[in-house]
């Protein structure tokens, strides 16, 4: 399997120049997730403004795949309505568990389509999901503290 299928140019660009990195105020919830297999770590904060994902900020140590993935996550969810952001997350999960057989929707997943190749490397799927799982966890915690509409969106997508 070609290495370039895994390390798409888009992924390497995000890795070298990550978007949204650094921990920022204000935030509603903060989580710390690790990949026990390799020790990769992420601290991630979520700030909600009503039903809108106002900010996602993070501090992460990890490989190119995990770093690029959380950078793309920020691009895709910040500024979106929560239910829409959660739908994108579901689509990304489906893509990553698709073993390379799922055709990603570029209009919705944007740069995340570059991760289609990662799904062919089972050992790296967890790297790509680290930031996304952290975001889902932090969002659930943030929503638990905020109005009922957001909670409903969370439940619909769980």
């Amino acid at each position: 399997m070609s290495l370039d299928m895994l390390y798409q140019e888009i992924i390497l660009d995000h890795y070298k120049h990550p978007h949204h990195s650094g921990l920022r105020e204000p935030y509603d919830a903060q989580v710390h997730h690790v990949n026990p297999a390799c020790g990769d770590e992420i601290t991630l904060r979520v700030h909600m403004d009503g039903d809108t994902v106002a900010d996602v900020s993070y501090d992460a140590i990890g490989c190119s795949i995990s770093q690029a993935s959380v950078s793309v996550l920020g691009d895709l969810v910040i500024g979106k309505e929560l239910d829409e952001a959660l739908t994108v997350q579901e689509e990304f999960l489906t893509l990553m568990h698709g073993q390379g057989k799922v055709q990603p929707d570029e209009d919705r997943l944007e740069d995340a389509v570059a991760f289609a190749g990662v799904a062919r490397f089972p050992g790296r799927v967890k790297c790509a999901l680290l930031g996304w799982m952290a975001w889902k966890d932090a969002t659930a915690q943030a929503v638990a503290r905020t109005p009922a509409t957001a909670t409903a969106a969370m439940e619909e997508n769980s």
Binding site: M1, S2, L3, L6, Y7, L12, K16, A37, C38, G39, D40, E41, I61, G62, C63, S64, I65, Q67, F121, R124, C127
Partner: protein, 421 residues
């Protein structure tokens, strides 16, 4: 040990005994297996011994009163004899079969917590380990300390990966009940001065447990003179099958310790009101043991004895020295652990500036070079050196200098791939 030159140890011929080493990987790449500290490859004789056991002799041991049962029991017990002879155990009854080194270490930690009288670990006692242990020689002792109220302490190590023995007398004291340490670090490659530490431990009446998982595969071992009270190791890192490990323990200690797991074959007699237990080693081998795996381990020991452990150790030293020299030429590369092949085993962990170990291993794999990336189950050792993870190349009795060259070429390629550093 005397140095055996390459002239008498023919690596190319040795490699012919390992069918997997001629495997081609995706894209037609020749396998370059540099992950032997993780698990070693197996020679044909070991593969055949396991296969023949199932084809010809298979039956349960110790309890089957038929011919196959007798053959199987004999083969299993012969494997115990081979292990005992291989490590210099004064008695075959000191060799307990487990499923791996982890289980062997957990066994010791558990029964020391359960032992009556002076042997037992109690609140106020101390257990001493080192900061370079594999998780399997940390967590069982943490659990023991949590259960008993004992305190866990540890030796630090310096930037070169050597234990700080200036702490010896203040760490190992009258309060110390157990000192448990690795003989050879799986991450740093450091060979620790087990006998020196054991001497101090015995002065204060502490027991010494040695994790020899990386040592038994690559060094001549004599437990009778090592100074340890217990030695744990695993079959799959010494050319044997997975699923079989060994706990060696001094006979009088094993005899005084209570059982670990309860079940078949570890009893003397059972009544519903209570049971009495078999003598060691059976006391610590509840249930059907890994029979074919023990037979395979016996075949691995035959193989290693035929090669000669002095020759195996000399080869390991030479290939490690060569690898350290070549890795030293790679710009941006930092070896974690001793940088000279003195008191050093054949596992070399390193960082490559600006490139995560996962990515290093992935690029190497795309060229057929198999290494390990991550924390190698030694997170505290990584933390001590201020790194989150590393890439590890490890060598064994079949490793060629050309394979080290392939690693170096792969690392140069990796740096180019990720835009230099």
């Amino acid at each position: 040990m005397s140095t055996v030159s390459q002239a008498t140890y023919d690596v190319v011929r040795v490699r012919k005994d390992f069918p997997i080493l001629s495997r081609q990987l995706a894209g037609g790449d020749q396998l370059v297996y540099l992950d032997s500290a993780n698990t070693s490859q197996k020679p044909q004789s070991v593969i055949d011994a396991v296969s023949e056991h199932y084809q010809v002799h298979n039956a349960n041991v110790a309890r089957a009163m038929h011919q196959l049962g007798t053959e199987s029991s004999q083969a299993f017990e012969e494997a115990r004899d081979k292990v005992a002879a291989f490590i210099g155990a004064p008695s075959r009854d000191e060799v307990v079969f487990t499923k791996n080194a982890t289980e062997a270490l957990n066994l010791v930690a558990n029964v020391l917590g359960l032992a009556p009288g002076d042997l037992g670990v109690r609140a106020g006692d101390e257990v001493v380990i080192t900061a370079m242990e594999h998780h399997s020689n940390i967590v069982p002792w943490q659990l023991l300390c949590q259960r008993t109220g004992a305190t866990l302490r540890w030796f630090d190590f310096d930037d070169d990966g050597r234990l700080d023995l200036s702490q010896l007398d203040e760490l190992v004291t009258e309060r110390t009940k157990v000192v448990s340490l690795t003989w050879i670090s799986n991450m740093l490659g450091t060979v620790n001065p087990v006998s020196q530490i054991a001497r101090r431990a015995h002065e204060v009446g502490a027991l010494v447990v040695v994790d020899a998982s990386q040592a038994v595969p690559q060094l001549p071992v004599d437990v009778a003179t090592l100074g340890a009270d217990f030695v744990a190791f695993t079959g799959h890192k010494m050319a044997g099958p997975t699923g079989i490990g060994v706990l060696w323990g001094r006979r009088e200690l094993l005899a005084a310790l209570p059982p670990f797991l309860g079940g078949g074959e570890m009893i003397e007699t059972v009544a519903l009101e209570g049971s009495t237990y078999a003598a060691p080693p059976a006391r610590f081998e509840a249930g059907t043991p890994p029979i074919a795996q023990a037979v395979g381990l016996g075949a691995a020991i035959d193989y290693l004895r035929d090669l000669g452990m002095a020759a195996v150790a000399a080869h390991e030293r030479e290939i490690t020295a060569y690898a350290l020299a070549r890795l030293g030429e790679v710009s941006g590369l930092r070896v974690l652990g001793p940088t000279e092949a003195v008191d050093r085993g054949g596992a070399v962990s390193f960082e490559l500036a600006g490139i995560h170990p996962h990515d290093v291993a992935q690029v190497l794999d795309s060229r057929g070079v198999a290494v390990r990336a991550g924390h190698h189950c030694a997170k505290p050792a990584h933390a001590r050196l201020g790194v989150q993870s590393s890439t590890r190349a490890s060598f064994y009795l079949y490793t060629l200098p050309e394979e080290v060259d392939a690693l170096i070429e792969g690392l140069d390629h990796t740096k180019r791939y990720f835009g230099g550093s």
